[in-house]
């Protein structure tokens, strides 16, 4: 029940904000803020104690679970559940949601109620994605979160918003439909083998699949998540969407929507199709590394600050994909930390770009320069987040990237080395941001004000979180450990051993690391 | 009574039908197009009669009657529309009815 309430609070808050916001813009803001705060408190009060409690060894992986009948005729149920992984992501969602509300506070003047309605519904959709355990329901939330996002972009976006919004929607939707086809295919194959037609995650786990079929179905899922992640070469929607979205939209896109792709890879692709994922891993890892380098190089050449930050996401999320297909504990923990920290650091960078745009009405790096003199506090924060983004130790991103690389290394040393080269490229573009915007000579005369209290608090909280994760990530690691361990156990078909799949079973289950075969 | 071979009747119907199709495709005058359509329908009716004869059933002939009735209804509506059209355009050239396109 807790989970439903967690999802319902932003939904209700959104409706309320939408209604009251027609008369009074301030009401919409305060309602949204209050709803998210309430949600955060509820999540902390309900989920955190459960998540930090040591798990009984016999208990299942789920800390909280809820299953209601929905379309039972088709084997669809309203099944929500959360494990450590979900809890961490829920908290991230709410935190960044608050940041998004805060950074829209003075940016959005028109149709404020409708804006916050959309924002809250996106957040609710994301919460649903992170907790849905019925594949149909998952897909439902998966698509649901895109519609309000689409409106956020087309209504409050910048110059080229229509193009960007349509591109965003088309890419994610087509890939999503491929996933839907794969979900349905899996459903029937599972149903035909077991006689139990169900979309339930736990039921579908371990469905034995012939190699070819498994690969096709896996690719269907992979397509959706790779587009969302975004992986090279289907990342092209992202720079446009990020650039044109309003600040809150960019924050939610970069901080959360991309994370649903990573979450999907973690939760579905590998556990549901262990064999296929194993066979596909070298390709996926190669794509991931290509994305790391490609994104970093392209980021450097951008002149639009927002676009620059957008390309960095391509680079950073490449690390996550690399980790997922390495599938050992170290890399997965790293991926989780990276997911969180990328959300915080890139989200913060977008907030900063938004603040600059609000003050200067431009995002063009060529027109900035020497802003440190005008806005030293903003500059300091920008420096902080740029350093975080280049993976400075002591800040969370470093922990994530380092764990990923050290976890991937035994399996793909060469790719790891190339990926580590991404760290160099990251330093090039990160420092470029600071140099072009804040250092150097002022290219135009700007009279702009430094951070106000609200803005400073927004950035300060994000910075503090990054610092905390950089110096003491252990609580997060601890919380996710049982969930990740459980996911790594369920990679072998066990429910209905079919001859052809048992024959090809690897020796992996005996291996305590349970890693995929090395790519050497 | 002389029986006409089944295939002959069918061939005749097919030939008539083709003629009707060609008429519809080639004539620009809308009245002639309607005539072509009538020929097509009647060719089909003829085919029904031939088929009914093959099986010795009345169904074919019943169908023919229905086809006749329908064709009549169709033509009456059609002519009404043509009349209206002629009032407006002062022409029976069907190619002029091409404002809607794209």
């Amino acid at each position: 029940m807790m989970l439903i309430i967690l999802i319902a609070v932003p939904l209700a808050g959104g409706i309320l904000a939408g209604i009251l916001g027609r008369r009074n813009a301030g009401a919409a803001r305060w309602i949204s803020l209050a709803a998210l705060l309430l949600d955060l408190i509820l999540a902390l009060v309900w989920l955190l104690p459960v998540a930090t409690r040591p798990l009984a060894p016999t208990a299942g992986p789920w800390l909280v679970e809820l299953r209601l009948p929905w379309i039972s005729t088709l084997g669809i149920s309203f099944h929500l559940a959360a494990d450590g992984l979900s809890v961490v992501l829920i908290l991230l969602t709410l935190l960044l949601g608050l940041a998004a509300v805060a950074c829209s506070w003075s940016e959005i003047h028109e149709r404020t109620g409708f804006f916050f309605f959309n924002l809250m519904w996106v957040l609710a959709g994301i919460l649903g994605v992170f907790t849905a355990l019925d594949l149909f329901l998952f897909y439902f939330f998966w698509e649901l979160m895109m519609v309000p996002m689409f409106f956020l972009i087309i209504l409050w976006g910048h110059e080229n918003r229509v193009y960007a919004a349509i591109k965003f929607f088309l890419f994610t939707q087509i890939a999503g439909l491929l996933m839907l086809a794969a979900i349905i295919g899996l459903y029937f194959i599972h149903g035909q083998i077991s006689g139990n037609y169900s979309f339930d995650y736990s039921a579908l786990l371990g469905t034995p699949l012939a190699a070819g079929t498994g690969m096709f179905l896996m690719l269907g899922f992979f397509a959706a998540f790779a587009v969302k992640l975004p992986a090279f070469p289907v990342h092209v929607w992202l720079p446009d969407a990020h650039t044109e979205a309003p600040t809150a939209g960019s924050v939610v896109l970069a901080g959360l929507l991309l994370k649903t792709g990573a979450y999907g890879l973690l939760r579905f692709v590998v556990p549901l199709f262990p064999e296929a994922a194993r066979a596909f891993a070298p390709w996926a890892m190669a794509l991931a590394v290509a994305g790391i380098i490609y994104g970093a190089v392209l980021a450097f050449s951008q002149t639009d600050l927002k676009r620059l930050v957008a390309y960095t996401s391509v680079s950073h999320m490449g690390f996550v994909m690399l980790a997922v297909f390495a599938w050992n504990e170290m890399a997965l923990q790293g991926a989780l930390i990276q997911i969180i920290c990328h959300g915080l650091s890139t989200g913060a960078l977008f907030v900063i770009v938004g603040m600059l745009q609000e003050r200067m009405h431009t995002r063009d790096l060529r027109r900035m320069g020497g802003l440190w003199k005008e806005v030293p506090r903003l500059g300091g924060f920008a420096m902080f987040f740029a350093l975080a983004s280049l993976g400075l130790p002591g800040l969370g991103n470093f922990v994530g990237e380092f764990l990923i690389l050290i976890g991937v290394f035994p399996q793909a040393p060469l790719l790891t080395v190339v990926a580590a080269g991404g760290l160099v490229a990251a330093s090039i573009y990160s420092l470029w941001i600071v140099q072009q915007a804040f250092h150097g000579q002022a290219r135009e005369t700007w009279r702009i004000s430094d951070l106000n209290g609200r803005e400073a608090v927004t950035l300060g909280v994000l910075a503090a979180a990054l610092l905390w994760l950089g110096l003491y990530p252990q609580p997060v690691i601890q919380m996710a450990r049982p969930a990740l361990a459980h996911m790594r156990q369920i990679q072998v078909p066990h429910s209905f051993p079919a001859p052809e799949s048992t024959a090809s079973l690897p020796a992996a289950p005996a291996d305590p690391q349970g890693e995929m075969h090395a790519i050497r | 009574m002389v029986t006409i071979p089944f295939s002959h009747g069918l061939l005749l119907a097919a030939a008539l039908f083709l003629l009707g199709v060609i008429c519809v495709l080639t004539r620009r005058n809308i009245i002639f197009m309607l005539l072509g359509l009538e020929i097509m329908l009647n060719a089909a009716g003829l085919a029904f009669v031939v088929a009914g004869a093959r099986w010795g059933q009345p169904d074919g002939q019943i169908m023919f009657l229905i086809v006749l009735a329908m064709a009549a209804a169709e033509v009456s509506v059609g002519l009404a529309l043509v009349l209206e059209w002629y009032h407006r355009m002062h022409s029976l050239d069907v190619d002029q009815a091409s404002r809607l396109r794209g």
Binding site: L392, L423, H439 | -
Partner: protein, 631 residues
């Protein structure tokens, strides 16, 4: 006492936090107190700690204190924990001691700068990070400090951010060192993969137990670590950033780019010496890198016109000596030279800073001159520093440390005559460029008027450092001087092994010392002859076409910047620029265009004529019938 270990890095870090949060709201006075005070207390603590540590010797050669668990994942248990041994203590003493003096000096030097509190914030952060680097118990934490000091270096080189050239220098420093850092990170991955730990002492044990001498793995690891070290220490082939790094304020150059951070490479190799000792090949490479760098930088130092760039090349060159010493297994000598170098190089930089300060920011040697009378104190301390750097025999600390290296390079079982010759040639070069600089700066006519004289807070550190660069050498006096004094090497041998000398060469020590003394004095004499005794000869020499070409070549650092620009920088920018619009995006756009073209094609059939439509119907019907009947 050892319990308070964590306070030593924590104090400067706390200073940083206060200064960063306080920002412009703090008065200059408060900022100075916080900035200098935090490092000062750290220095005092280090002193107290040293006493406690020495008391524990030789029974307890090392202490470990864990503060908290950083992270613990799948067998990788990394603590924020500190390791104290003789090596670390030496480093800490230099960092906090010299660091304190430089902070104090900066109060005067930076007094009129806008970013006063920002400066001290960065400096404090640097000291904290550097302390973490040297105190780290595991390579992960070391890496944190390693990158942390890199970031501070970046921040401080680009401290005067208004000038884009400074920003460029800062980014160059960061990116070039990061290339090395990445190699080092890969070494960490490899170490953890093969040895299952990143705790340094554990690694050393396991490496010794599991890896044979001369096998491939220790060589690879050692070379990757060396990659990190050459990046940070500005050795070949990643030396290019350091001369440009002089863009930062002079105290920064003194602290970061002379005394402490650039020696982190030396520290890393010394810290992981067991792995290097497993790979004779890697050791040789270290020695060769050191030797090549010291010569290369020495030649470049000859031709510089900017006083700070001379010092920068000299730093590169001196660190080359340390690497050379490391490469031949002269661990104690390298450490000793590190310490002495920290003293005299900090002194030289600060003195140069005083000169620059006095001349209102003038850094061109050819616009200086005649300052002997104007700035007598600076003249004296600069002389002490220059003498120490040139290793003027007997009276300077530099002589004892450099001589120890030269001698051990000659005598070590890993050394050799060729390396020795390079070291000796380097000594000659050092002496030449040092005194060239010295004479240009202090002798001859006054070319620029003096604006500021250094105050007490600048003079005091200069005096202290001058004394140290003269007398610190007496901690270690060679055997050949009547048995000598070996305080330092005894102390450091609790952490690092003694040099393996070839017995056959041990008798030649005094000859070797004479040679190095001759090199130092010969260089001095030569410069004196060419510049003061008969300047025409000097001028004639510099007008030779060959000399002018060489001079330009060396001035530009042997063309490395040009080469790297051609090989890496410009291709990278070119690739990034031509692909700014994202070629992949273009592919998708093409796909969309294709769709629109198909739309036009399909739309062409929608003529609006009913006969076209009827034809379509008929053709479709015919096609279907044909398909069904004939297929």
């Amino acid at each position: 006492m050892i319990q308070l270990l964590w306070l030593i890095p924590a104090l400067p870090l706390a200073g940083f936090v206060i200064l960063a949060l306080g920002g412009a709201r703090l008065s200059r006075r408060a900022a100075a107190w916080i900035g200098v005070g935090s490092v000062g207390i750290s220095a005092l603590l280090t002193l107290a700690l040293a006493v406690a540590f020495l008391r524990g010797l030789p029974a307890i050669p090392a202490h470990i204190r864990q503060v908290w668990t950083w992270f613990d994942v799948a067998g990788l248990n990394i603590g924020v924990s500190f390791y104290l041994d003789a090596l670390a203590l030496t480093m800490m003493a230099v960092i906090t001691g010299v660091g304190f003096l430089i902070h104090l000096y900066s109060v005067g030097y930076m007094a009129h700068d806008d970013g006063f509190s920002r400066f001290f914030a960065y400096m404090n952060l640097f000291v904290g990070a550097m302390l973490i680097l040297v105190m780290a118990d595991n390579l992960m934490l070391l890496y944190l400090g390693w990158e942390g000091v890199g970031a501070c270096s970046y921040l401080l080189i680009g401290f005067w951010y208004r000038d884009p050239a400074n920003g460029y220098a800062a980014r160059k420093a960061f990116v070039v060192t990061r290339v090395g850092d990445t190699a080092m990170a890969v070494a960490l991955f490899l170490l953890f993969d093969r040895l299952g730990s990143l705790q340094i002492q554990e690694l050393m044990q396991r490496a010794g137990a599991q890896w044979g001498v001369g096998t491939i793995l220790p060589t690879v690891v050692a070379l990757l670590l060396l990659g990190g070290a050459v990046g940070k220490s500005a050795q070949l082939p990643l030396q290019t950033w350091l001369p440009d790094a002089m863009a930062g304020p002079t105290p920064v150059s003194a602290l970061i780019h002379a005394a402490t951070m650039v020696t982190a490479g030396f520290y890393l190799i010394a810290r992981t010496h067991l792995i290097f000792e497993l790979s004779p090949l890697a050791m040789s490479i270290v020695a060769i890198v050191g030797a090549a760098t010291l010569l290369l930088a020495g030649f470049s130092g000859l031709c510089q016109t900017d006083i700070k760039r001379v010092l920068a090349y000299s730093t590169v060159s001196q660190i080359g000596y340390m690497f050379l010493a490391l490469g031949v297994g002269a661990w104690a000598a390298a450490t000793f030279h590190f310490m002495i170098h920290a003293f005299f190089k900090a002194l030289l930089f600060l003195a140069a800073g005083a000169v620059i300060h006095a001349l209102s920011g003038e850094q061109d040697l050819f616009k200086m001159g005649g300052l002997r009378r104007e700035l007598p104190l600076v003249y004296l301390v600069f002389l002490a520093g220059a003498a120490s750097l040139s290793a003027i025999p007997l009276v300077t600390a530099g002589f004892y440390s450099k001589d120890m290296i030269i001698w051990e390079v000659f005598a070590s079982n890993r050394g050799g005559t060729l390396l020795w010759a390079a070291a000796l040639a380097g000594a000659l070069l050092t002496s030449i460029y040092t005194f060239r600089m010295f004479f240009l700066c202090f002798e001859g006519p006054l070319r620029t008027p003096v604006a500021h004289k250094p105050g007490w807070n600048m003079s005091l550190p200069l005096a202290v450092l001058a004394v140290l660069s003269l007398v610190a050498g007496f901690l270690e006096i060679p055997h050949s001087f009547g048995g000598g004094v070996q305080i330092f090497s005894h102390f450091i041998q609790s952490a690092l092994p003694a040099t393996q000398l070839l017995p056959a060469r041990e008798s030649n020590e005094i000859l070797c010392q004479l040679a190095s003394a001759a090199a130092a004095l010969g260089g001095l004499g030569l410069v004196w002859w060419l510049m003061l005794r008969s300047p025409q000869a000097g001028a004639a020499l510099t007008r030779q076409p060959l000399a002018m070409k060489l001079s330009r070549f060396w001035l530009n650092g042997w063309g490395f910047d040009w080469l790297y620009g051609l090989l890496f920088e410009r291709p990278y920018i070119f690739l990034a620029q031509i692909n700014r619009a994202d070629i992949v995006d273009g592919c998708f756009t093409l796909l969309a265009r294709f769709g629109l073209a198909l739309n036009a094609l399909a739309g062409a059939a929608q003529t609006g004529r009913v006969r076209t439509y009827a034809a379509g119907l008929t053709v479709g019907a015919a096609a279907i019938i044909a398909w069904v009947v004939w297929l």
